[in-house]
């Protein structure tokens, strides 16, 4: 992964000093709450339900063992022994003391980590494919481009007080795994007619209160100009985005109100002036960044390992895990492994201090020290020998990190919800637990097959419920927690927003509602057809009808005291 140079290190070190000073001035009463708020947010610090929440950046999801061990140390020393992976590949601690945060940031700086711009109305941590650099379907490695965007956007003087937050994601594979179509800017690495690298640029996507799929504003921006082009987009947004209403301040609202054609015209008019400007990239600059990635040299291996094939044949549990949690790698004889943070009974995305350390050890022993976080709140070991998989699986299993459920119903994306988050309208973790309990039979889960269930505790949509095959949204109805259910959303190249199926449900109803959706699918599906494909083929109407018929029957049953309780 990328190794800091002296500028990167100094930037982070001095940012720690600066934040310690800002916090000291705040605590001394020199800075008001309003003045301190954007400063702390741009260092990842929220004031939450129980305590401050510190969100630490994991740039495009890349982590090394030393960093994981430091996160474990922080969890143990300053938190309650665990951390939480967010849906933007970052990690969050829910229990630090405000006074300790400068010290925590100082520790992070020693392992080339920071919390810069993980919150606030600025350019946020850039996200990417967790399999970047190793995916079999990748045509251009997005990581150097992500790092360049990270360096460019860090403390950008012009864009640190935007109307609202701004998220950039980059994809370089055939199958988009970075949901670039729901980002403020989505960058798709493409080859031009002469084979040269460039970017297809999408703009104005986003979820939250007003979910919108981003639209293309340029089919090809040459790589030399990509930052100049982004500056043109950001300048139009900074000058013309709404600042009168927090809920209408994202770039998607500006793009929608102008229309994408007019927005593109304004960007092009600005780009005439930013083209060849200060942020023009050179080959030397790309090389400087790319060379610091220091990718491991993978010894050449035969495409198939005989021992591995035998283990697969002999052990069904191992084979199940491989089927669900192992992905193709571009190098013969290697695979990528997804470590599940979705063990039954655990809060999705949560990881204990000991697990942080254990994942670091696994990465050292089996994965050339390369770990990634995913927006689905799991971890990836990027490069593992086929021959090492069995031993890795046995260790990961003993650590509770080998639940064979990646891509299955219990691999839910779940925000922290009202248990932790001050914004949430409803709890999401207990809903996840109730669904985990209902669907705890692994054979049944495997039979249901691939399905994405995303649960957000409020319309800010941290769990990306609009692009879940099933999306659940917590809503507040006169002080009570209710849950809206959406159907038919999808991420990836054909990203689409789900549709609300009807009136919301009480928490206790949700496992039954999910059961009805699954049963409808099982009754309708063609052979080898995934849940989402059945939904799109059959339409949501039949799912919806059955959900409410069965819900009403349950309600009727509860009213009659002599009726058996289903």
């Amino acid at each position: 992964m990328y190794k800091y140079d002296e500028y990167d290190q100094r930037t982070v070190d001095e940012r720690v000093t600066q934040f310690a000073d800002q916090t000291a001035r705040y605590l001394a009463g020199e800075l008001s709450d309003d003045e301190y708020r954007p400063l702390r947010r741009q260092n990842g610090l929220y004031i939450q339900r129980h305590a401050p929440m510190l969100r630490i950046a994991i740039p495009y999801g890349n982590l090394c063992p030393a960093q994981l061990r430091m996160l474990g140390h922080i969890a143990r020393t300053y938190d309650r022994g665990y951390g939480h992976f967010s849906t933007r590949q970052n990690v969050q601690f829910n229990w630090p003391n405000l006074e300790d945060v400068p010290e925590i940031l100082g520790l992070l700086a020693t392992v080339q980590m920071h919390a810069i711009q993980t919150s606030g109305n600025c350019i946020r941590n850039v996200t990417a494919d967790p399999f970047a650099g190793v995916a079999a379907d990748e045509h251009i490695d997005p990581r150097p481009w992500c790092e360049i965007v990270r360096q460019w956007s860090t403390s950008h003087p012009e864009f640190s007080f935007l109307p609202r937050k701004f998220k950039i994601a980059i994809n370089g594979a055939a199958q988009d795994r970075a949901i670039i179509r729901v980002h403020d800017i989505g960058l798709d690495l493409v080859r031009g007619t002469d084979g040269d690298t460039g970017f297809r640029v999408l703009v104005g996507g986003g979820l939250g209160r007003t979910p919108i799929i981003g639209e293309e504003i340029s089919p090809f921006v040459p790589w030399q100009q990509i930052l100049n082009y982004c500056e043109a987009i950001l300048r139009v947004y900074n000058l013309h985005g709404r600042r009168d209403n927090l809920h209408k301040a994202r770039i998607k609202i500006l793009v929608k109100s102008l229309g994408v054609a007019e927005f593109a015209r304004q960007v092009d008019a600005e780009f005439v002036h930013t083209r060849d400007g200060l942020s023009t990239l050179t080959q030397a600059e790309i090389d400087r960044v790319a060379d610091r990635f220091n990718d491991p040299v993978l010894p050449e291996l035969p495409a198939e390992d005989a021992g591995y094939a035998a283990q697969l044949a002999a052990n069904k549990a191992f084979a199940n895990w491989v089927k669900r949690n192992v992905r193709a790698h571009k190098a013969p004889g290697y695979v990528s492994v997804v470590l599940s943070l979705k063990k039954i009974g655990a809060a999705p995305g949560d990881i204990s201090a000991d697990q942080f350390d254990a994942v670091a050890d696994l990465a050292d022993q089996y994965a050339f020290g390369e770990v990634r976080s995913t927006h689905e709140q799991n971890l990836v070991l990027a490069s593992v020998r086929q021959a090492d998989l069995f031993a890795l699986w046995e260790t990961a299993r003993s650590l509770g990190l080998a639940t064979p459920n990646i891509g299955l119903l219990t691999d839910m994306i779940v925000c922290p919800g009202a248990d932790f988050c001050a914004l949430a309208n409803a709890r999401s973790i207990p809903i996840a637990h109730a669904i985990q309990d209902r669907f705890d039979d692994l054979d049944y889960l495997h039979d249901i097959g691939e399905i994405e269930l995303n649960i957000s505790g409020c319309m800010n949509a941290c769990a990306h419920h609009h692009v879940g095959h099933i999306g659940v949204l917590g809503v507040d109805k006169s002080g009570e927690e209710w849950y809206q259910v959406m159907l038919g959303g999808d991420q990836g190249n054909q990203a689409v927003l789900g549709k609300v199926i009807g009136p919301s449900f009480a928490a206790a109803d949700l496992p039954d509602v999910i059961s009805t959706l699954i049963n409808t699918y099982l009754d309708c599906r063609h052979e080898e057809e995934r849940f989402i494909d059945t939904v799109h083929r059959v339409g949501i109407e039949s799912f919806k009808t059955r959900v409410y018929v069965e819900r009403d029957a349950r309600l009727e049953g509860r009213k009659r005291p002599d009726a058996p309780n289903h």
């Binding site: 500028y7 100094r10 930037t11 001095e14 940012r15 000093t17 600066q18 000073d21 800002q22 020199e30 800075l31 003045e35 954007p38 400063l39 109305n121 360049i148 360096q151 460019w152 860090t154 403390s155 003087p157 012009e158 864009f159 640190s160 007080f161 935007l162 109307p163 930052l227 300048r235 900074n238 000058l239 600042r243 002036h273 400007g277 200060l278 942020s279 023009t280 990239l281 050179t282 030397a284 600059e285 400087r288």
Partner: protein, 167 residues
């Protein structure tokens, strides 16, 4: 005399900022003698009377975040001073206005940040091309300003690296 930060140093300031005026009143608003920074509307409404003062280096104009620079830039380039108002420090339009004045229009005169100008944003402002920072009067004492000027802040610089230090 108000304190300003000009080219990195604290100094007294002779300029008076003529504040709020509706467009209706712009034509009739009295412009005091001495160095004055007037609202854009006043400059546009009273240009014939004010031109000599501008030529003598005694008149500046302040802009709001919604100013359409493309339509006005030619008119503004000859002014000795342009100020950009930050109505709230979280309103970041002024950074783009300043950047455009310096990089696109090549404005070389004094560029001043006025309004809700806070010391934790000094470095952003300087890096966008402001030469003068004018915090609200009485917001900071001398000790606080001195401390702000010695703090690191300009550490990350422009990107790419080969352009470091060029702005």
């Amino acid at each position: 005399m108000p304190q300003i930060i000009k080219n990195g140093r604290i100094q007294g300031d002779e300029w008076k900022v003529l504040r709020g005026v509706g467009n209706d009143a712009a034509a009739t608003m009295a412009v005091p003698a001495g160095r004055v920074i007037v609202p854009l509307a006043v400059w546009q409404a009273q240009r014939p009377q004010l031109a000599s003062s501008a030529e003598a280096g005694m008149l500046g104009v302040w802009l709001t975040g919604d100013t359409d620079l493309a339509a006005l830039a030619d008119d503004l380039m000859a002014l000795p001073l342009i100020a950009v108002d930050f109505p709230r420090f979280t309103d970041g339009r002024g950074y783009s206005i300043a950047t455009q004045l310096r990089t696109r229009y090549g404005y070389a005169g004094e560029l001043r940040a006025i309004g809700d100008v806070l010391c934790d944003q000094f470095s952003f402002m300087i890096r966008c091309g402001f030469s003068t920072l004018q915090p609200c009067e009485e917001r900071y004492n001398r000790v606080q300003i001195d401390a702000a000027l010695t703090r690191p802040g300009d550490f990350s610089g422009p990107f790419p690296r080969n352009r470091r230090g060029t702005r």
